[in-house]
Symmetry: C2
Subunit: 323 residues, 2 copies
Amino acid sequence: MAVYTEVTDEDLTKFCQDLGLGEVLSCKGIAEGVENSNFLLVTQQDNYILTLYEKRVNPDDLPFFLGLLEHLETAGLACPKPVRSPKGEVLHTLSGRPAAVVTFLSGMWPRNIHTYHTSELGSAMAQMHVAGEGFELSRPNSLSVNDWRKVLDSCEGRGDSVVSGITQELTAELDYLEAHWPKNLPTGIIHADLFPDNVFFRGEKLSGLIDFYFACNDILAYDLAICLNAWCFEPDGSFNVTKAKKMLRAYGKVRTLSTEEIQALPLLARGAAIRFLLTRLYDWLNTPEGAMVTPHDPRKFLQKLRFHQAVKSPADYGLDPKT
Amino acid sequence: MAVYTEVTDEDLTKFCQDLGLGEVLSCKGIAEGVENSNFLLVTQQDNYILTLYEKRVNPDDLPFFLGLLEHLETAGLACPKPVRSPKGEVLHTLSGRPAAVVTFLSGMWPRNIHTYHTSELGSAMAQMHVAGEGFELSRPNSLSVNDWRKVLDSCEGRGDSVVSGITQELTAELDYLEAHWPKNLPTGIIHADLFPDNVFFRGEKLSGLIDFYFACNDILAYDLAICLNAWCFEPDGSFNVTKAKKMLRAYGKVRTLSTEEIQALPLLARGAAIRFLLTRLYDWLNTPEGAMVTPHDPRKFLQKLRFHQAVKSPADYGLDPKT
């Protein structure tokens, strides 16, 4: 769940008046997201999402996140658009917290992934990468290749209680990734967390991307590598090459992938797998029993990592190796 | 928070089609209520609340609760109205759970109580009591005077770890209440849980009553007694007689209170205080640390109980004793 801060009706009424949103008809806390307090806000004017930023978000990052949404939406991407105050501010204050109001996107995130989902995802991701060009702010990826070892170290070897030998296995993998991580691939704004729950669909059509709170500047193809992990494995752990192929092809139609980017995919996919494996392992080891948030099982990403380690060429992701 | 059951987009799409609600535009779990899974459902047609009934609700009670909402709404009360299927059913099935869809009520529940709130509340409660007449189903109150001792017994004397001597104090109070509980007051449908979070306002006007899952047949004035406890004490524990007076007067304008009902108010208020004190004490003693739901501090209701014990006559609630 995700409502950490209580908002009084009086404060909210004034807040919405100040923003010119009209009378508040309803404001309900949403049981989604784990970092911030999110509310579905219905006013006489429209539906919105109200977010109160809690302590886990660095307030210095908020101008980047909100500015990025506005930049992408203006460039035509289907993503939430922040509401500016009459003074032109996108970052507001409510109940003593930094707060933002963004437009409401219709759609539902898919629980069962079909090939039309990954095809739509590929196009939208490429559109986002293209639309990100020219955005004037930047933010380093705080969970990239040089940060992963810190996460492993902070598990203090206790990962072996989850999977015997995992600490040694991941140490060897990090040695390899740190030595071979690509340095000259095209970079730009990436979403960095495009899991199914952050992608809305209406029927078979993508209707929006949300939750840009991991967005940063990094290798563009790394976003694809994350989605190979997040969208292209079946619940039983098997890799669905058709879903991967559809995603990569649809991406390529909007933004051409270079040979270097394609060749790097297996390595980037290993990196993406270990990035989520490590944070999930850490959360798994450090979430008290009965906590409000149920941690994800890290073992699924170990399976995915091992799959990518065994990949011989990008052809295993459904790409013609000659292109 | 209150989302215990995950609903797939496919199941929901079919469910809404079958109910004739049009395309689903959004469905978000709401962080409200602790018994059931609640979703704010936006379709092309309208906004609704979708509820999946979880294990703590007795399915045999659902026809009563849903039928009551329909009865009250038809009688003109501002409350959610269940959506009937083309076959005429109000109780549906979704994701393997009993499910209902009700109309969405605009408004917010008041965090800071003003006298206009209690005045509006009094009128609406009386309207509900009158509107409940003629409803063909009935449901006994499972938490009335003869049930309280079981709750105290199930605390196994551990209440004394919260307040020293409380078990003895409450035993004596139950002896008194069981011996003196009124037997001949007017009965009917009561809400039995009209706390502020179940009453919506738009500005200073009441816009709806929600959450009828404690509704039952009992002494009508007992609903007033519950609201004396729930609405008329200040955060510092002091009793605000103006709020009580406004509530009782507004009630009396819609449904006349008999002398017997007025005279019984202090006793009924003691009963209402101990009813919430006991269930909160039980939850306080039996909620594991770090659980999803934070229990209410039972001591506030001990303060309220002691206030009502000291009340000399209904005049202390702002009522003219001669009326």
